[in-house]
Symmetry: C2
Subunit: 186 residues, 2 copies
Amino acid sequence: MSGEGRAAALPPFTLVTGNSDKRAEAERILGRAVDCAAIDLPEPQSLDFFEVVRAKAAEAFRRVGRPVVVEEAGLELAALNGFPGPLVKWMLEAVGAGGIARTALALGEPRATARCLLLWTDGAREVVGEGTTVGTLVEPRGTSGFGWDPAFLPEGEERTYGELPSADKDRLSHRGRAWRDLLAKL
Amino acid sequence: MSGEGRAAALPPFTLVTGNSDKRAEAERILGRAVDCAAIDLPEPQSLDFFEVVRAKAAEAFRRVGRPVVVEEAGLELAALNGFPGPLVKWMLEAVGAGGIARTALALGEPRATARCLLLWTDGAREVVGEGTTVGTLVEPRGTSGFGWDPAFLPEGEERTYGELPSADKDRLSHRGRAWRDLLAKL
């Protein structure tokens, strides 16, 4: 079933994110407008994606007062035994996508796993969608996407996330997979 | 004036930390027993030491209800433009002290800055002590100290934090300097 077909049957929710790129991806993947609250949720320090997304979901529901979806995504470098994972935004802020790739390459281990969790909750029940995409880090190429997209080459592809047209990225990206997993479970 | 002399004049406080090594260092540096509350405070994700220590101090005071000191320490890798900074505990958890050093060395830039902030607050007033120690990262040596101590060689020294006797480490360490700075301001 297509994302669009599933989306029609979804229970209502508000996507809580301060990242307009993530909202745009959600709308593309779901094939419809998504009610969104642009709130930057505080994130606890942790390497555990579930712990981070649960903390964000509790705070999001407290603030919004209706069913919410929150997202936590990150990048696990094999060269650093999974670090920085959910903390990748700070590594990106410090050294950029190129710096992340060059760190992995300097250590001789370019493999990385992109991971995304989406948590839907109505304050009582919670449903978690998860998506992972394995790949390798390369010198940044392309201007599509955002964040570390230009440095991530999904396995079996010759184009980085930053070079892939949106529809192709959504088909194989960690975030596309997480949304489809969430839709299948809701 | 020695740390011991100052310590006698300090206003009372409870050191709030879940890290017994940090408590031991404080008692050594102050030259007396320190009232301690072994609470693991939640830490917000940030590269800003002040932001992290302020969040911890507010929560510590809320829980303890009397004047507190909280600490935030970290390691800024020049090779990663200051990352991971306050997030170093997670890099340490993922790859150990040797992995941190090998990352810097692989990138051809071993310099690093160890930084420590100590914040005293009685709920109304706050006083911040800061200490930094510059050095280089090396293959771990020595069994003293804790965390990434064995991989950190302070500038002008031939012994890592992990090889230095406690008194020598305290004299030049970021944490020793932060305590003395706090004492001088209180």
